[in-house]
Symmetry: C2
Subunit: 219 residues, 2 copies
DNA sequence: CATTTCAAAATCATGCACGATCCAAGATGC
DNA sequence: GCATCTTGGATCGTGCATGATTTTGAAATG
């Protein structure tokens, strides 16, 4: 019984999907770059079928664009208009989610995890270094995602997940060094409000953070 | 110039995708029903590759679930918890979108289209008839979508589109006859507020409509 | 006789190689 | 210099081989 560990049934398409996603998030492919199916097949040592399946999924998620009879390419960096929409949207969802999370009184484990993320983001090397740059971005991702999770609405969580990759990439290409300190402070205030169980304060802190985040992004 | 019609390069995978989606929305496959790749290939007169590509996309959109080495199946009807989340989420997004749309003063063509949808939904046969049942559902879909569009935020629009199919199916399986009249009145109030360019009234009308809609759905 | 066990066959998902089709770019002709 | 042809390369679709899963059916057990 207890020893019955679940056998991992591995489908090649899944692994290829993860591999390509990782490559894009690793900036191994620039935005808008063409993705050669045969080339990927050779590099990943599989046939073209799993590649195409994986790319089809990535297309549906918006990370990859497909042109009939021409091929696949990584999604281009969105224009300013798109970011404006994204932040307006987040400005509606996330303050609400933060209030909801505060109302539900997140457990100490959640607070602990959030503080851990904040601390880890601060501890990152002064990043001209690529790795820490990515580490910062991923930490920010997780921070916001945890709050969406704590709000307990799976639909809202999914809508955030759909934005994550685009946000991840844009942050990767557009984040500046001096922004780190400000982000840090804003995150702190959000966690404090959550811990205090104060919905209004949490909502307000999140709103301010997103506004600041947007300002930093577009300049 | 004017005669330069765009040649539609058609990929089989796209057509298969539309065909299967249509089948699911047509209730040709019950929720949770298994989808046989070879069977679909024979029925649609194509090989299995386009089928799998289409199914992979449908999986990414949540209409179809995939289990490794077992196959594909249409997504099961969600539980009550899910609908609660959906309507809480819509209760945040759509009132905001309605206010935004009112603020932008939608043109007379948009108002006209909305009134057209409302009228068409009312004109539908007293539906024990299946067709009009579906017609009602699709009309409701389009009504809400037009408002999201009028709000001018493509991210919010996409988040709604991600919910549309699930909503469509649940409405198809769960809508009652006596609900039609109430829906109709609520839609009217929303259009009026949009036409008047009154953000608060639009937001409020949308909120009431969603609350009513939710009540009708879960009982 | 009902129920369980177990093996073998049928069914089906998955991945691969190959051929057909189509796009892009360089070469040729005027 | 412009249009047409040709070649290279890539995508798209098909058929088939392989391995996993499910079902069938018969034997064995209680």
């Amino acid at each position: 019984m207890s020893g019955a560990r679940k056998i991992e049934r591995v489908v090649l398409g899944d692994q290829v999907y993860e591999a390509i996603k990782e490559r894009i998030l690793d900036q191994a492919h620039a935005p808008g770059e063409k993705l050669n199916v045969d080339g990927l097949a050779r590099e990943l040592q599989v046939s073209s079928t799993p590649i195409r399946e994986a790319l089809a999924r990535l297309v549906a998620e918006g990370l990859v664009k497909a042109e009939p009879f021409i091929g696949f390419a990584t999604a281009p960096l969105p224009d300013r208009r798109y970011y404006e929409d994204v932040y307006n949207f987040r400005g509606v969802i996330e303050p609400w989610a933060a209030a909801e999370a505060a109302r539900r009184r997140p457990g100490p484990d959640v607070i602990q995890t959030l503080r851990g993320e904040v601390a880890a983001m601060m501890a990152g090397e002064p990043s001209r270094e690529y790795r820490s740059h990515r580490g910062f971005t991923e930490g920010d991702d997780r921070f916001h995602r945890i709050i969406l999770q704590a709000a307990g609405n799976q639909v809202a969580l999914k809508s955030y997940d759909d934005l994550r990759f685009h946000l991840h990439i844009s942050r990767l290409y557009l984040t500046r060094e001096q922004d780190v300190g400000l982000t840090h402070q804003e995150h702190f205030r959000i966690v404090d409000a959550l811990e205090a169980g104060d919905p209004d304060a949490a909502s307000q802190a999140m709103r301010l953070h997103l506004e600041g985040s947007y300002e930093r992004l577009i300049k």
